[in-house]
Amino acid sequence: MNNRQPPIESLFEAPEIGEQERMLEAILFATIEPISKKRLEERMPHGCDVSEALVNVKKRFEGRGVHLMHVGDAYAFRTAPDLGFLMQKESVETRKLSRAAIETLSIIAYHQPVSRAEIEEIRGVSVSSGTIDILLELEWIKLGRRRMTPGRPVTFIVTQVFLDHFGMESSKDLPGIKELRDSGLLDNRPPPGAILGVVPNENGEEVDNNQDQDDMFD
């Protein structure tokens, strides 16, 4: 514990420069935002030479883990930029792909090369850019050749990363429709609500899959 007395008398006589530096250090440490020289002068005892003390404090922290930085017209302690890597913590989170993404991916895998319009036709709903972006970012799909039809739409194909992730040598390894049916996957119909109901897409927009809702009024 430090037993120096607060310099009450300093209202009339400024504390020595070393003490002024200690004061600046404490204020700069505890202040919740960068603080201007004017505000520092207001908070320091009367008669202090804040400019000189600031220069000294800045010098004292040169080359240390924390620097006195000039932020606009204000001052603040900041971690030395070269130590920023200590301030990061990596975290990896496992996420499940959204239904839209996995459906889009499966369409690309089974139908490649396939255009966005074709994906939309198969899914029966529009495909958001977000969905495509996630798949592109994952490097599971990439752009294929442009289709030689009006508008020259881009097509999508799956990548080597995709094949590696799913443990396939080529997209021909994907089970065919017949196999799907034989394995019972095609007969395993999802509950009607899941297909026929109002399904929000990944943007939270509701996509009306169902044209027969008005039955409720009969």
């Binding site: 919740i32 990061q88 990596e90 990896v92 996420r95 799907l180």
Partner: protein, 260 residues
């Protein structure tokens, strides 16, 4: 040995006792009162006379009774307890008597008082220490760890196949065609339609009369137009432009322009 006579307490003690009584809410229980009384003896807590303290306390209780102050049960329990200690201290020690001697009981009470006083003193010293947020301070601009979050997406071949299977199964159903929208009569349309008609509805008319021609033959269109006209009617009632009535459940709904 001093005799015990509560009427003999001197004026000073009485005043002290009465001020205690008046202040009773300021005390935290009988031990607190005892400690306050003990301080009036102006001796080291270890040299306190428990006998004298017991007398002081009993006088305090007597004084409280005299001014008919309701004392909490614990004050009376303490009084009984002190009377017991006092009797043990005053009576010659009976070697055959069970339980602790008067001296042992007195010593423990003295210990309790000394300990309570020590704790009070320590509490004061503790609170007088430099305190965080008052005398010393934490970092004002913490640079929190930035979490570099990365996501690993998980999907299996089975997910892929099931998704595809779901889509192919869906193909059995008719996709949504835009031309089917012509079977929908929107609420906006219904509102338009009704607003243009209510000016003429001076007499009660049924709701059906407000439904546009050509919409009632096709069942789907009829459903839609019924629903939207009904909703539009409610809206106009809410806006105070229509009156409505229905004579019985399921009987026709009738409306007319609200009288000005």
């Amino acid at each position: 040995m001093e005799s015990v006579n509560t009427s003999e307490i001197n004026i000073e003690e009485r005043i002290a006792a009465e001020s205690l009584v008046i202040d009773i809410d300021g005390f935290e229980g009988p031990l607190d009162v005892l400690l306050t009384l003990a301080r009036t003896q102006k001796v080291d807590m270890r040299k306190i006379s428990i006998l004298q303290l017991a007398r002081q306390y009993l006088a305090f209780v007597e004084a409280a009774k005299r001014i008919r102050l309701e004392l909490a049960a614990d004050y009376l329990v303490m009084a009984a307890w002190l009377a017991f200690i006092k009797s043990r201290l005053l009576l010659p020690q009976d070697a055959s008597a069970d339980g602790p001697s008067g001296e042992e009981l007195a010593a423990h009470l003295a210990f309790q008082l000394e300990r309570l006083e020590a704790m009070r003193r320590s509490a004061a010293q503790l609170m007088a220490r430099d305190q965080l947020g008052r005398d010393f301070f934490v970092r004002g601009i913490p640079e929190n760890l930035t979490l570099k979050k990365s996501y690993v997406y998980k999907a299996t071949v089975l997910d892929l196949m099931q998704a595809y299977a779901r889509l192919r199964t869906k193909e059995n159903f008719k996709p949504l065609h835009i031309e089917e929208r012509d079977k929908i009569f929107s609420m906006e349309q219904a509102l338009e339609c009704m607003k243009s008609l209510i000016g003429h509805a001076i007499e009660w008319s049924t709701l059906e009369q407000f439904m546009p021609d050509g919409w009632l033959s096709d069942p789907k269109r009829r459903r839609s137009v019924k629903a939207s006209t009904f909703a539009a009617m409610l809206e106009l009632v809410k806006l105070g432009k229509l009156d409505l009535r229905q004579s019985d459940t399921f009987s026709p709904i009738e409306i007319r322009q609200k009288e000005q």
